[in-house]
Symmetry: C2
Subunit: 474 residues, 2 copies
């Protein structure tokens, strides 16, 4: 997945911490073969889906238990060495990069379901469980976990970045769906941040503080999630529109009318072409909305009818339905493959993804101006969006060896973020801040809020060893 | 509302801070007549709905703007004097009590809607706006704010305690419904914790950290909330059952089947009698569920049908419907008046309210054992519950001058909390920790999590002036 070229001016300026031999020896003594200093392993853990290139971590340990994680963190704390948790490596913002050196703690082998409580609609998992694995393992309960960021990400990574995706318009994000956590703190202690009760007013909301903290405050070792009954009826539909504006205005009205739509995704005409070519589909080459309705048979019918009426007001074509599970899977796979389809449309290219999210009434303004700007730039791009939430992604397709194109993409992104902030939105709806959006975060929240984050970070991680160098400069 | 007697052994042991004259003079110079040291005003701000009695604050200032709050906090910080924000005084846990002295900042005059964005389903309010006022002022938009803790609490107070109430089973709690905040920090700075975007991964979730922090980390001066379209159809129904167990088992099945019921409240037979006497109603004298369904006309019908089938399986009687808004209001007013009805049932008594919340599958175990225990004690009580969330409240009705009864109520509460924690629940579903539940919090989360809360508190409020002495001992 990593492009061959390197965006050299994208490398953050960093001070690399040296991991002392005594610490490496202690890790090897504890982890045995589960501690690796092989370059290939370190390199695999020293990159993600972002465009950054930095030196890999000094070692990788493969944790198999909370005790393993606590051991590694305690040792790292003694030696003031950075630790970076690693799930499947699907971050887009450089979260996993060892910008200050240190070690990577791979939790992908912590992939057990700790307990399933179908009667309470909850499950507790280890952080290395991926969302597809989770849904596979709970299939027999008649329940499902709806959060779907596209990639088959780990639940730990999704929690750490406050991920969301296509179903969030109905089911919320990781913010709403993580009930409680077990966390290894910066000193290597193990704490619990909540219970399985559906709601609680018991002190500070440490769960929500950890969710989205990108590994900078602690490492999640158990995650209790909400589950949902599989809807009695599901149907998916595609509707194409004469313009992006028509598709967006349809979406705005669906949301404002309170239709409990489960998914409403925009795909622009560029991306439709790419997806058709990649997945051998024959979607009509127009901007389209890909939708899904969940509920009782009557409820789904009612929702679909309302949406169809709204769509036709804006010139939308008749719905094309995907009623069997196979058809639905094919459609959503196409959506999830938009990224890969786009990458393949320009061989050797690398995609830089944007992630703005604005209040729904501002979506048309934000999106249309950004499309005009991107079109005028001449840079190829794809455009997909969780438009029901006001969240969309441009993917600028760069020749990684072309500094000018890179500069252009950066300019487009900056202009887009500035526009989203003017419209009371955020620079990141679901990818997180990581390395790339530190300055955007500062502009968005102001120095007062970032100072508060920094104060919390310093208090909870005084040695600055928990995934340092991310979100803000300490 | 305060009972005549005092529960003297309930007074927390505290060190009272002396407010220096120079600070009082500066407050008077800034606030003029909006700064009061009159005993009656101070006493009114030195108590809430809890059973504690402590000396009142040294002064009360009536803030009319964020700048007023910032001024008072900055001054308090200079003099290391505690500040306690005050909305309408409906806390049940002693949140508003000046246990370490200091001044009360009354925000009830900050009662303006700052901006309404109906097209985005958001509103930004000042903290002194009450929930009824909010719904009154946005009536013409076709939207409503669902969180309803019973009391006409201020939005500031509801946010600070992470309140919820009868509608939470469908719409969530303040945790899910506060989008962003403006906060005056312990140093008197003004920060913003988010935007109006529906979701965001932009750094630490300061919004959720502040929600439920009970005034100990900052004072909220603007609150951005989610709103919802008024349902096309609403219907309410009462169903009585042969036993509490039958009512609870019905609720459990409703939730497990994923019925999107908007309200499902349990009222035990004691409380039905009290409510009938108080509100001149003729509810059947059996345990009952009070329910509300929101949706399209067809959706509401479908939900009601499913629930009726479940109820009849457990011996529930036929639904009695309240279809007109007037009938619904009468029914829900009766529910909300349960507390007052209970108080009146034993003249001169005081109610001690419990607030446990357990996973729904544990609800029957938790509730039935606790009912047996309460019955065996001989102490009069009322029992109501937001049972769809696994949350319920016993109100033990004490003679405030009878130490033995008080001891008994404490024992019952301790036994109830211990039971709820064994069943993976929480000591407080919606009232907050305040003064009374500090030890319960410690048992519930363990010292590691409370240490983390304390570390955050010390970092963000190094002088310990923000509503000190609440949630945990610093």
């Amino acid at each position: 997945m990593n492009a061959p070229g390197q965006l050299s001016h994208f490398v953050p300026k960093v001070t690399q911490c040296v991991v002392p031999t005594v610490m490496l020896d202690a890790l090897k003594a504890h982890f045995g073969e589960r501690c690796s200093t092989a370059l290939v392993v370190r390199e695999q853990h020293g990159r993600d889906e972002s465009a950054y290139t930095v030196p890999p971590p000094a070692a990788v340990v493969f944790a198999e238990s909370t005790a393993d994680v606590a051991f590694a963190v305690k040792l790292a704390s003694e030696h003031s060495v950075p630790v970076i948790p690693f799930g499947v490596g699907s971050s887009l913002e450089g979260h996993l990069l060892a910008v200050m050196g240190g070690i990577s703690i791979d939790v992908s082998r912590m992939n057990q379901l700790v307990s399933i409580n179908p009667e309470d609609l909850t499950v507790t998992v280890q952080p290395g469980v991926t969302r597809k694995q989770l849904n596979e393992e709970i299939k027999s309960t008649g329940l499902f976990f709806p959060i779907d960021p596209g990639a088959d990400a780990s639940i730990g990574g999704m929690s750490a970045t406050r991920a969301s995706g296509t179903n969030a318009v109905r089911y919320g994000t990781m913010r709403e769906n993580v009930l409680a956590l077990e966390v290894v703190t910066a000193s290597g202690e193990v704490i619990r941040t909540g219970t399985r009760a559906k709601k609680s007013s018991a002190g500070y909301d440490l769960t929500r503080l950890m969710v989205g903290s990108e590994g900078t405050l602690g490492i999640m070792t158990e995650i209790t999630l909400k589950l949902y009954p599989l809807p009695e009826a599901i149907s998916a539909a595609v509707c194409s529109f004469p313009s992006i504006e028509a598709a967006v205005r349809t979406t705005i009205q669906i949301i404002q009318m309170g239709v409990p739509i489960a998914r409403v995704e925009l795909i622009d005409v560029n991306t439709v072409r790419m997806v058709n070519a990649y997945a051998k589909l024959s979607l009509r080459e127009e901007p389209l909305l890909l939708m899904e309705f969940h509920g009782s048979p009557a409820g789904v019918k009612e929702q679909a009818q309302t949406v169809q009426e709204i769509a036709s007001e804006f010139g939308g074509n008749a719905f094309e339905w995907a009623t069997t599970p196979e058809e639905r899977t094919r459609l959503w796979t196409a959506r999830h493959n938009a990224y890969f389809a786009a990458i393949q449309s320009r061989p050797g290219c690398r995609a830089i993804s944007t992630d703005t999210c604005v209040p729904i009434s501002r979506l048309a303004d934000c999106l249309l101006d950004s499309v005009s700007e991107a079109d005028a730039s001449g840079l190829p791009y794809f455009l997909v969006g969780h438009v029901g939430d006001g969240n969309f992604h441009f993917g600028y397709l760069l020749d990684p060896n072309n500094a000018q194109e890179h500069e252009l993409a950066e300019q487009l992104n900056q202009s887009l973020v500035a526009r989203a902030l003017r419209l009371e939105g955020t620079c990141t709806g679901e990818h997180g801040v990581g390395l790339h959006k530190m300055d955007f975060l500062l502009t968005e929240t102001g120095s007062g809020a970032v100072d508060m984050m920094r104060t919390i970070k310093r208090a909870l991680d005084p040695k600055n060893i928990m995934n340092p160098g991310k979100i803000f400069r300490v």
